[in-house]
Structure formats: structure tokens, C-alpha cells
Symmetry: C2
Subunit: 229 residues, 2 copies
DNA sequence: GGACAATATGTCAGTGCCTGACATTCGGCA
DNA sequence: TGCCGAATGTCAGGCACTGACATATTGTCC
């Protein structure tokens, strides 16, 4: 993350001949750690995988692992962290004509579609992301870490919404509330997907998108008056 | 805001002459651990307080501490856990005539009022609870653990809402969505209160209730169309 | 190509959270 | 009083994580 003056300023992934050997090597070991950790977690479970194992799989010392990731959680959530960055970028790019809730909804759907169509590494990103969500929902420690990340993203989203609408988030509560509601709905969809994928197959990205949209559609009805009759 | 003073007596907590010496002793050490931990956390911070210190303050072994609490988080969140139980009880007691969102709102307000008027131990519960929220919001580890607890409560709330309205939560998404939205709004209020209490004084229970209600009031406006103009 | 500076990595020692196993003490009850 | 079971203490150990210091590798300037 330490950007040097000679580095090209790229926000996202730089597939770079511009990068020096040192930077490329770092990226490779980092990716290898994420990949190895992901595999081990899926096979053995998160709790039964030690950091030493992950480090050994990539042939680095434990100390090096902790120079790349602050803790065991971080390496597990690394893939989702990237997706979150993409979501933020999509949200910022939404036209001002959309209402806040439309912008959020479109941004998240776009993010998932993008994941489904990105054959970056050997394994498609979408598979990794979906497996990861499943892992998170079934691992208390990971779930806790993930939820904390989400609240950090909420602050970012609040800021973006406030800026879009020209509001001061300290005065007007709507951006905060909207961000919180959005997170809640999204995670509810994740939970549904996770439970569903538990019985049937994974279902792919489209089923996730469908689920998200169904949950969004229930937002109005859920808040409006009585439910029965 | 229908103030029902028909408060049900403690659901599980029997303050009892009926309890034997053994049970009373256990409760006392448990309470002492919670109290000692709370004080130490407030003075030294959560991270800089070891379990050994907490155990030593109550004059028990570290091993005994871990027989009362699964981990360091749990002792910190113990006070809030009780409050959550009260909230669930209040929610279950809400009349069927109320809409789901009204029931949730009334239940949480009642819970806070109850906290404000409960002089159980030496220190009032409300002070402890508010200090705790402040501590949680400023301690990443605690925040993560707290958020995980909240998601567990969401499942309970989902069940209660579904039962109230005679719905199957597997088919109708509204209970889930409503529970998620409620959690989001509530935590948003907590965050606001925490930031606010950082600058000014604590403000007491009424300020928290006010904040919660203001956030609820913004729920409709936030979801409805455009915000400006 | 060689020397130097910067940076990445390895090694080591140590702390703190948490757990299982086993011994010891204490409360409940005949 | 004496027994049984529950609570507690003690001990050993694993694992996550960190600071300090030594070593190796890379970029750069000559």
C-alpha cells in the first residue's frame, strides 16, 4: 500500500509491466497466501487451520504472513474486501438522477454481475466470493469480523450518499439511516442465500442477484402498516 | 408511545431466597467478574486489560473466569445481553393491534426506560449500559462481537414478528427484512449517541431514546424517492 | 558489474487468550 | 458425620500475534 512517486496511480488492479520486480513478487505472495488460505479454510474449516499451515503452504514464515495481513480474519475476507471496493466505485459512478435507494440497488447488482464475469485468476472470482459468504455465515469469528467491516463501509456509503444529495450527514440523518438499512437488507439476502445454498447447490451469481432484488422489493411492504389482510 | 406500565416481572431472573448457597455464590462471583471487568475496561481500556487482572480482582483463578464466560468479549457484553433479553420480552408482550414497526419501536423505548429506572445493584444499570455502548463503539474487537450478537437477536426477532403476523418466515421475507432494518436503525442511533457523547456529556437515557426515535422518524423519508427539492 | 541504501524476509523470544486433564475443596444431603 | 457431586485450582500446552534484531534481496547510482 506504500505508493511511491514513480508508481502509476491506479485505484484498482494494475496488471503491470510498470511494476518493479519487488512489487510483483509481493503481489504474488499476497495472492498466494489468500488462495492457500481460502483452500485450507474450505477443506479443514477456519478454526482448524493455523496460520503456520497457511504460511507453510506458500513457503514463507509466520512472521511474513502477519506483515501482509493484520490477522487471520483479514486473509479470509480479502476477496470480499476487493468486491467492496468495486461496489464503492460503482456507487460513486451512479448518475445523480437516480434516487439514493436506486443507486444503492443498482450498484450492488452491478458489482455481482461484474464478479460473475471476471475470469481474473485461474478460479473465477464469483465462485470464490460465494464460497466465502457461505464460509462466513457458518464461522462465528469470521462473521463478527465481516460485520465490523460492513459497518466501516456504512460510513463510506453514508458519506457518498450525503455528497450525492448535497447534505450534511451530521444534520440530516437520512444518509446514515439509508446506509444502515441497505447493509441490513443486503446481509439478510446473504443469509438467505447461505441457508438456501446449504440445501441445494450453490446456485451461481444470478440466484444471489435475484435474492437481493427480492429482499429489496420487500423493503416497502415490510415498513408499510400491517402485513395481514 | 403507549406507555404500558404493566411490566412483566423478570422472565428468568428469580432473585431468590429460594436459591441455595451454592447458586447464590455463583451468581455473586459472576456479578463480581462483570463489575470488575467493566471498571477495568473503562479505566485501562479493553485491550490493555488481561483476563488475569479481572480474575485477580475477584480473587479467582483464570480458569474459573473461563468457566463463567466463554471469552473476554462475553464478560464485557454481559450487561447488554441482559438488556437484550428484556427487549425480547417486551416485544413478545406488545399487543397484536400494533403494526410490526410500532411494536419494535415501542419495545426498544420501553427497554431503555426500564433500564433508566432500575436501581438493581449499587450502580444504576443505565449508566453501565451507556458506558458500555461507548466502550463498544470505540473498541473494534468488542464491536465485532457485539454485531455478531445482534445478528443472533435478529433471528429471534424475525421469528417473533412472523408469529405475530401468522407468517412463515421461510416464504415471506418481510419479517427478515424488518428485523434487519430495525437492527440497522438501532445501531445507527447507537453510533450517533456514541459520537455525540464523545463531545458533550453522556446525556442520560432520555437522550438515547430521543435519538432512537429521531432515527426511526427518518426511516420513511430516507426510503421515499428523492431527498432534495 | 560493483557498492550502497532501502526494503523484504527470517529467526527468536515473549505475551495473552483459551482449553483439556487432573487434583482439591466445598456445598448439599442423608 | 460422612458421602456425592459440583465448583475451583493447578498445570501443561496450543495458537494468535508482536517487538527486536539479523539476514537476504532488490533498486539505484557510479
Amino acid at each position: 500500500m506504500t505508493a511511491r512517486l514513480t508508481d502509476p496511480v491506479h485505484p484498482g488492479a494494475v496488471l503491470g509491466p510498470a511494476l518493479g520486480l519487488r512489487e510483483r513478487k509481493k503481489r504474488r505472495t499476497r495472492d498466494a497466501l489468500v488462495e492457500a488460505a481460502h483452500q485450507l479454510f474450505l477443506v479443514q474449516g477456519y478454526a482448524h487451520t493455523t496460520v503456520d499451515e497457511i504460511a507453510a503452504a506458500v513457503d514463507v514464515s509466520q512472521r511474513t504472513f502477519f506483515r501482509y495481513f493484520a490477522n487471520k480474519d483479514e486473509v479470509a475476507l480479502a476477496v470480499l474486501a476487493e468486491a467492496e471496493d468495486h461496489f464503492i466505485a460503482h456507487l460513486r459512478a451512479r448518475p445523480a438522477a437516480e434516487t439514493p435507494i436506486q443507486a444503492l440497488r443498482n450498484a450492488i447488482v452491478l458489482t455481482w454481475r461484474e464478479l460473475g464475469a471476471a475470469p481474473e485468476g485461474g478460479a473465477s472470482t464469483i465462485t470464490t466470493a460465494l464460497e466465502l459468504i457461505q464460509l462466513i455465515e457458518t464461522t462465528p469469528t469470521l462473521l463478527a469480523a465481516h460485520l465490523r467491516r460492513i459497518t466501516e463501509q456504512e460510513l463510506v456509503v453514508t458519506g457518498i450518499l450525503a455528497e450525492r444529495e448535497g447534505l450534511d450527514p451530521a444534520e440530516d440523518l437520512r444518509p446514515r439511516v439509508m446506509a444502515a438499512v441497505f447493509s441490513g437488507v443486503l446481509r439478510s439476502a446473504h443469509l438467505s442465500w447461505s441457508a438456501e445454498a446449504d440445501t441445494a447447490g450453490t446456485g451461481g451469481p444470478e440466484s444471489m442477484i435475484q435474492l437481493i432484488e427480492r429482499h429489496f422489493d420487500q423493503l416497502g411492504p415490510a415498513l408499510t402498516g400491517r402485513w395481514r389482510g
